[in-house]
């Protein structure tokens, strides 16, 4: 059934209510204008932890709700509606998935309760070049004393600033472009040789470039099999992509709702601009695209809950479709707002900026369309 369960529906309601109260778009605007160091509100993160959302993918024995990816996606969707800034996707979705599925008992006991309690923020560092390419990872991990020595750089690492730890994709073997030889390590954010440089992005969120110069990790810091962690990485990325797809669906829905409101209220030529067929047909087309994207997002979330490691196809479908539709939705929103849509004072531009970053992060539509094509053998 491609519908929400009753519990999921309740979570969605609760998330919508809470975020519109506690993290409206004005919060993002204030953080941006204050050039906030983190780019998100620690109070909001704490409140999200109190609601249990940070533990949504964490087993109950580690203090989580174990509510599933569909539920995590609903929170992301609602965060998309209000542009709530938080390390939710990096920490509560990706890092939690990585440690839950690839961590040993010690790592799980150390990190999972802390994530669930909102006490630990963990970023995930994969990309090294301007386009997403997990298999292209070149950052080297060379055996040294009782562990590995990491050398290289990372870019577009969301929520690395102020994080407690960073999960780093590194190459213990093989060549860039190969799945073989990939490993994941949990690196302490204060480790010697790790430099974290904040990159101010178009969406005003927390992102960084990392330089690792002889960063030492233990064998025990590895998640998943050393040299064979690509599958785990794919699972982690899949969880994150589904979250981003849901966020973009929320962005598309909200910017569309605001645009519809504007079409009804703005008068030109003595009538509401929403009465002009040229705009009506574009709005109707956009409505269809948003509905179609919603179905893909729902199917991706459900697929992850059925099988977190085998959902790649539907998750790529969701990420690709939601990305394209969010792009269309924000573009139409700005255009249909006319001159005022170009102003910083109106929120529409903020939706456009975040949609762009969410679309790029963990693979744009081209990346995911390419995966779909390969899986479909054409």
């Amino acid at each position: 059934m491609l519908t929400l369960t009753e519990e999921q529906g309740m979570l969605q309601e609760a998330a919508r209510g809470f975020l519109s109260e506690s993290a409206p778009v004005s919060q993002l605007r204030a953080l941006r204008d204050a050039r906030d160091e983190l780019g998100y509100s620690r109070d909001l993160w704490r409140a999200m932890a109190e609601l249990g959302w940070t533990g949504i993918l964490i087993p109950e024995e580690h203090g989580g709700l174990d509510f599933g990816h569909m539920g995590a996606g609903l929170v992301c969707q609602e965060m998309g509606r209000t542009l709530a800034a938080s390390p939710y996707i990096s920490t509560a979705i990706m890092a939690a998935t990585a440690i839950r599925r690839g961590g040993g008992p010690g790592q799980q006991a150390r990190w999972l309760p802390a994530i669930a309690a909102g006490e630990a923020v963990i970023a995930v560092a994969v990309d090294e070049a301007r386009k997403h390419d997990p298999a292209g990872t070149a950052l080297r991990a060379q055996a040294s004393c009782n562990g590995f020595r990491l050398d290289g750089h990372k870019t577009f690492v969301a929520d690395a600033v102020g994080a407690d730890a960073i999960i780093v994709a590194a190459r213990t073997g093989g060549e860039p472009g190969e799945a073989e030889g990939l490993s994941l390590f949990v690196v302490d954010a204060r480790a010697q040789g790790l430099d974290i440089e904040r990159t101010l992005m178009v969406d005003s969120r927390n992102a960084a470039r990392l330089t690792l110069d002889g960063v030492q990790v233990d064998e025990a810091d590895a998640l998943g099999p050393v040299g064979g962690a690509f599958e785990l990485l794919e699972t982690v990325l899949g969880a994150g992509r589904a979250g981003l797809a849901a966020e973009m669906s929320g962005i598309a829905q909200e910017s569309f709702a605001r645009t519809l409101g504007y079409l009804r209220e703005r008068t030109q030529f003595g009538r509401p601009i929403g009465s002009f067929q040229a705009l009506q047909h574009r709005a109707a087309h956009l409505y269809c695209e948003i509905e179609v994207a919603k179905s893909a997002v729902l199917a991706g979330g459900q697929a992850l809950d059925r099988d977190p490691t085998g959902a790649g196809f539907l998750v790529s479908l969701a990420k690709a479709k939601a990305g394209e539709v969010a792009r269309l939705a924000v573009a139409e929103a700005v255009q249909m707002h006319g001159g005022i849509g170009m102003t910083d004072a109106v929120d529409i531009g903020l939706f456009m900026k975040r949609a762009r970053v969410a679309g790029e992060w963990l693979g744009d539509a081209s990346f995911h369309a390419g995966r779909i094509a390969r899986l479909r053998c054409f």
Partner: protein, 394 residues
Amino acid sequence: MSELDAFRHEVRLWLDAHCPAPMRELTRGEEDIVWGGRRWAFRSEAERVWLERMAERGFTVPTWPKAYGGAGLSRDEERVLREEMARIGARSPLESFGIWMLGPALLKFGNEAQKREHLPRIARGEIRWCQGYSEPNAGSDLASLQTRAEDRGDHWVVNGQKVWTSYADQADWIFCLVRTDPAAPKHRGISFVLFDMATPGVSTRPIRLISGKSPFCETFFDDVRVPKENLVGELNRGWDIAKYLLTHEREMIGGGAGGLLGTRPIGEVVAELAGSDGEGISDPLLRADVMRAEIDTLAFALTMDRLRDEAAGGQGIGARSAMLKYYGTELNKRRTELMLRAAGSDGLEWEGERSGGGRLARDWLRAKGNSIEGGTSEVMLGIIAKAILELPGA
């Protein structure tokens, strides 16, 4: 085992035992569709037997009540039946305007006698129906139709002309919109009537399509006598029935008749047509367009499922049928465009065995009608803008 699982098990066994082998082959196209009707000539014994057996079980119209020839299945059960048929590649035993359009309208608006008379015959494929809506001066603006029905005491006399009437020359009966009150505002003077195409005064003239085939006609009514009891619903309130029927037609065209569901993935089809031997599609522009079409098709198929899941028991999906109609038919046009592009000059052959009688070119041309028949894409967008988005009128 849940009840649904038990049902699945039963259906699986039954289908395995009763679906003839030739009916498990992929439908090639129009030439494999069974429309039924008085004059229907089965192309094989398997076709006949398959229809007979499915009709016997009520599976040609699975969600209709048993009393009217259906199987009384719930939405979930119907889905199971569809899945199980797909599992063995079973063809649909019967397609018809009676199943897609008139049946749902009669179930909602027909009286008991009308239901008992017409529904079982539709279910068994005995009577083939056509749709008398469009007229030369009433297309998108359907409610301005002029075909008259005058009250002559115990019967109506119908005069006028319909056009684009699909398969009117092969149909046994027509469901027809007629004006019964010329003085009333246009939506308030229309009635919904049924009559036999063999009635004196009914004539049809086939029209050739750009695809070279003639599935639709001009249909003329010259003093046609229609019994009073053939009025469906209330006098002068036929517009409500007409609209309700259209939502079913649109859902159908958008999802199924548009040729989308149950077909092979577009990427696979295009790769094969392009002769790429498992090497993928080398033309970069074509490949990119196919990727987009594949993504949209997959996400659209999920949307069909989602809307069906959301629709409250049997109530239909209302104005959202306009979305399915619009999106599904535009996708089907893209699909046939891509197939033609992949096939290059081979796809342009119009006759002869090599091209299956010009199948690709003819399907491509026929698909252009998908976004016209049953209400144009522009009309669908207008419905969405007004009925769903509630944008102000002009």
